[in-house]
Amino acid sequence: MTDAITTRPPATGQSGIAAQVAARLERARTTCTAIPPASDDLPGLDLATGYEVQRLHRAQAGPLVGWKLGVTSRAKQMQVGVHEPIRGFLATEHVLDIGEPLQTRQHIQPRCEPEIVLIMGSDLAGPHVSASDVLAATAAVAVGIEVLDSRYQDYRFTMPDVVADNASASRFVIGTPVPVAGIDLRLVGVVLEHRGEVFGTASGAASLGHPAAAVAWLVRSLALEGEGLRAGEIILSGGLTAAVPVGPGDVVVATIDRLGSLELACQ
């Protein structure tokens, strides 16, 4: 799997940029301090270099537990002028257990969003994978809350910036998995509550028309790197409402019809 990465070395200049950006982001994470977007003074930072930064970060992170998607809503894509989502990796350090509070002080500017989570039942790879292939390979689905935390000041970034920042991944918690059979993930209602009030609503279609279509894009994107999904991996299929900023004392509840409800307390 890693062969594909090592046999495809980026140009020396790009590799230098990737290392530089990776170091800045690492410092931002460890010191919990936002930085200006890397693209401000490194205009050579492109999407491929952004993913190279992600690979450098991944090599330093704990064991891989899955993947996440970003920029999966059409509105968001039009807003930033792109027509594709982005992906990030999830490692053990990103996991919050059910009932475990979010320590907001370990974050720069945390935001929460509700997501449909797919848990893979079998390996899935290839450049032509479709949404129905994804559903066939899915063991179960669950409601999830993703905690985003951009390492860039005020969430101001270009697409290569945010890819380099692992798609703003920070923490995630998932509810009890349920079988996907018989559930139309496109139409399930989604409600995000914050401090006891409705903050946003959606249906599953908010992620690229269907969460499984978003995951199919992820698999095809990974195939370009010679990678794929493994059985047991957890996939956050994309934020379904706007993300709500959270601080100490906040409680966030994500409810998805047929999948259940999940609460996250912030300290």
Partner: protein, 261 residues
């Protein structure tokens, strides 16, 4: 010449509806216009329309979402009558010529099975009085230029109601969590927006209770067969001739309208 009296305002709106020509917002002339003034104009306008042979088949509730309330600067919904002449069926063609500046919104609609009269109506009372729930879209329209409306304007203008299209598939409420009914709105096959029932006052059932209690203050009851349009689950979308809009609701099914010149 400012229109200050209730009959004059109602007549101005009546004429704007007939001529399809928008008028300047009442609040331009008189920013102190109250909600009570506005409901008086609405009642007078409704009387004029009923005198033409129309009838009230239900009510729409507007401003049921936080973002909409914030936009108008209020913390309460508003309501207006739904007139029989403006009800379309699933699949119908809707002519732009019937409106001034129409937009479409996907909404959950309830059909009353029993009389419901406030005050004191709880969500449980509302639940018991409802015969069923269905997929619907509301076509909102403003008789005021460029939708430049304040609360008193939209209330006077039948809460900016233009028309409704309702699915014929009436689904029983039992066992449904109306907060969690998911919805996708597409235009010509392309996803436009999504939402869920909770976007309407936290729960569409709470909208029915609010309406029954508010109408009760004026001595009006919801009658068996009345429609209650519970408010948009997403931001309103402008309509163009040739558009086919489809609002698909989980557990309720779809409702489609075709937009023609």
């Amino acid at each position: 010449m400012p229109i200050t009296d209730v009959p004059g305002k109602a007549r101005a709106l009546y004429d704007a509806r007939q001529d399809r020509k928008p008028i300047e917002p009442f609040t331009d002339e008189d920013a102190s216009l109250t909600m009570a003034d506005a409901y008086a104009v609405q009642a007078e306008l409704t009387r004029l329309l009923l005198a033409d042979g129309d009838r009230i088949v239900g009510y729409k509730v507007g401003l049921t979402s936080k973002p909409m309330q914030r936009m108008v600067g209020v913390d309460t919904p508003d309501y207006g009558p739904v007139l029989g002449s403006t009800v379309y069926r699933n699949g119908d063609a809707v002519s732009l010529g019937a409106f001034i500046q129409p937009k479409i919104e996907a909404e959950i609609v309830f059909v009353l099975g029993e009389r419901l009269r406030g005050p004191g109506v709880s969500v449980t009372d509302a639940h018991r009085a409802i015969a069923g729930i269905a997929a619907s879209v509301e076509i909102v329209d403003s008789r005021f230029a460029d939708w430049r409306i304040k609360l008193a304007d939209t209330i006077s203008d039948l809460a900016s109601n233009g028309a409704v299209a309702v699915s014929s598939q009436l689904v029983p409420l039992a066992g449904l969590d109306t907060r969690l009914i998911g919805m996708t709105l597409s235009r010509n096959g392309e996803l436009v927006d999504t939402g869920a029932g909770a976007a309407a006052l936290g729960d569409p059932l709470a909208v029915v209770a609010w309406l029954a209690n508010t109408l009760g203050e004026h001595g009006v009851a919801l009658e068996p067969g009345h429609l209650v349009m519970t408010g948009a689950l997403h931001a309103a979308v402008p309509m163009t001739a040739g558009d086919v809009f489809r609002a698909d609701f989980d557990r309720l099914g779809p409702v489609t309208v075709r937009v023609v010149e």
